[in-house]
Amino acid sequence: MPMKIGDVEFFGRVDKGLRNSFMRNAVVSAQERLKGAKLNAAEELGDWEEWRNLSEEIRQHTLENLDYYLEELTENVCKQGGHVFFAQTAEEANEYITRVSKEKKAKKIIKSKSMVTEEISMNDALEALGCEVIESDLGEYILQLDDHDPPSHIVAPALHKNKEQIRETFSEKKGYKKTSKPEELALFAREQLRADFLSADIGITGCNFAVAESGAISLVTNEGNARLSTSLPKTQITVMGMERIVPTWEELDILVSMLCRSAVGQKLTSYITGLIGPKDKGDVDGPEEFHLVILDNGRSNILGTEFQSALHCIRCAACINVCPIYRHIGGHSYGSIYPGPIGAVLSPLLGGYEDYKELPYASSLCAACTEACPVKIPLHDLLVKHRRNIVEEHGKGTFGEKLAMRGFSLAASSPKIFSMGSKSAPTVMSPFIKDGKVKKGPGPIKPWTDIRDFPEPSKQSFREWFKKRDKGGDQ
């Protein structure tokens, strides 16, 4: 399962997440900041609920008619001379991408941040071919230089690193000589990456939303790296999850507005770019060749089930920023490139209960995620549904219940989390709760108590526990 990060089992990961005090502080302050920014941005609109209703309506309609809109998209991409490849699996997607790269005799490939290419471990496939794959998003670039340290947050992937660590990485790997001032670090990355942008053979991007009516893809960034990846290399490959599509430009407006506000509290990010096939005749910059890879990879199994609304997700991370559990355990603990509440819903769907059975329990069911979600995905309901399935699948009183207890105690061991969690007492756990107090059930589990009795944070960093990015996992 390529989206899987590391082999450490869930509670081991939580343990280590809890011990890393820098990361915990970083997570807390990032959460606060992003959450605050989002609240302001939502408030400014005045009628946030109306916007959420509209967004939900758009997502529902689009997913209900997904085959139609994907067909319309395909026709319009082709009309412009672009190529479309439908990939049922990660392997098929990688095979196509490597085939194109081979045809183009590509040596250097520049990428802008994309969750879906992480999901399919595309970099590994291209590197096996001998291509150099360079991440151009500043956060991703830092992680890549640091021996593929995995991302810990959808919007801010290098959240767990401090600037001193970044300076060290730059000086070790690239001979950087200046200070750890963020401006100087960023300027250095800019200079380094400019050369790469200019010499790359292929630019690879994700896609925030495709626009069916024009065969367009859109990219939302602040750094401008997606623009560079799509303006300079001669070949562009865009990889999109099949659900990332809107009918027309008018719906793009709504979802992009919601994404920017919810993700970073901005009205719009610095760059929203709509790209329609290869460059027009007579244009100088822009790709000569355009390939769109549309990925299923387990998504169609979610369609038509009680989890369909999970596919409405626009990857804004608002649910992550309000999650009290994420705050305590950090992104890596989820063992998946999709962390937080949406990760706890999505990872078991895409990767199976076997690998991700604990995740639905990494929640206090406080419903803060559901309230925050700009497209109104009932996240905590979906988590309860997962729990029910897990208990049913693995039999009551055995695995499921054990899990329920451990998951429960993780939430209950922090009074603050517990008070939020008890707001909506989960069905699986209700036997343990009376009058809002825990009557029986297992004692608080190790990770959290360890931290409480363990004021001196462990010297071990998660960099050590997670030395190298798991190459493709145990597929």
């Binding site: 990032a30 009628d47 916007w51 209703n53 509209l54 309506e57 209900e64 085959d67 139609y68 067909e71 412009q80 001379g81 190529h83 479309v84 439908f86 990939a87 049922q88 998003d137 500043l138 956060g139 801010a156 959240l159 690193k161 600037k163 960023a186 990355a189 009516e213 024009s214 367009a216 602040n222 750094e223 623009r227 560079l228 303006s231 300079l232 099949m242 027309t248 430009w249 793009l252 407006d253 992009v256 507005s257 901005q266 009205k267 610095s270 760059y271 929203i272 709509g274 790209l275 329609i276 096939g277 290869p278 027009d280 100088v284 910059d285 822009g286 549309i294 169609s300 369609l303 038509g304």
Partner: protein, 239 residues
């Protein structure tokens, strides 16, 4: 133009229809009239002047300098702004509006004063990109301007290279006041109409809101990452 190739479509879309528990949708799906449409209420009855105010306030927040001027004074304004950058080289779109607004005269004068002025020229191909990459200043017009988010919308075209607003260290957008609309809603509506009427749209549409930036290092905002380090909007109030 030759149509692109399509692989595995039928199987893939059949699977989706099957999961959704129905036949493939073969007849056009009508986009519903959305029940909620709050987007049209934003700055609904704002006057041009009010929109300009909103733009100015928003630009303060996104590290973007806004200057207002008239067509007559535009070249003086450009001189002032560009002097500030100590620019040795300028790259500009080739767009009829530059002549119409008299900016070509400014370019001529700047050229005489020793500044390298390059007007985007498709006939020299990729040299345009190299020149842009080294330029101190890139100048474009705004095709549409969004007050709420402080955004200039740019449509690509042969003379309107993507690199001009992207590669130079400093970016300047000339904004005719009449291009200012409340928000993205009006712009996407326009693009939607363009698609419906012409059956296509330019190959690249950029919504640019200020300079490039990143908060990837300890959540500290750094202005100027891959794109320009500064952004300046010059609003021409009598156009």
């Amino acid at each position: 133009m030759k149509n692109g190739a399509v692989h595995n479509k039928e199987q893939f879309l059949n699977q989706i229809a099957k999961s959704l528990g129905r036949e493939r949708r073969t007849t056009p799906v009508a986009r519903p009239q959305w029940k909620h449409q709050p987007q049209w209420n934003v700055l609904k009855n704002a006057t041009e002047d009010e929109l300009l105010d909103v733009l100015g306030t928003q630009c303060d927040r996104i590290h973007t300098r806004v200057e207002t001027t008239t067509c007559l004074e535009l070249n003086n304004m450009l001189t002032t702004v560009i002097e500030h950058f100590d620019a040795k080289s300028i790259v500009s779109w080739d767009d009829p509006r530059f002549k119409e607004y008299g900016i070509n005269d400014y370019y001529e004068n700047a050229g005489r004063a020793g500044v390298d002025v390059h007007i985007w020229d498709p006939s020299i191909g990729e040299k345009n990109i190299i020149i842009s990459e080294r330029a101190d200043v890139g100048i474009t017009f705004a095709d549409i301007t969004l007050a709420e988010s402080g955004t200039v919308v740019l449509f690509s075209d042969n003379g309107k290279g993507r690199s001009v607003s992207l590669l130079p260290t400093n970016y300047i957008a000339i904004i005719p006041k009449s291009t200012i609309v409340p928000r993205m809603t009006q712009a996407t509506h326009y693009i939607h109409k363009m698609e419906q009427e012409n059956g296509n749209v330019p190959s690249c549409i950029n919504f640019i809101s200020g300079p490039s930036n990143s908060a990837d290092i300890e959540m500290n905002l750094v202005v100027g990452v891959h794109g320009p380090i500064t952004a300046t909007y010059i609003v021409v109030t009598d156009r």
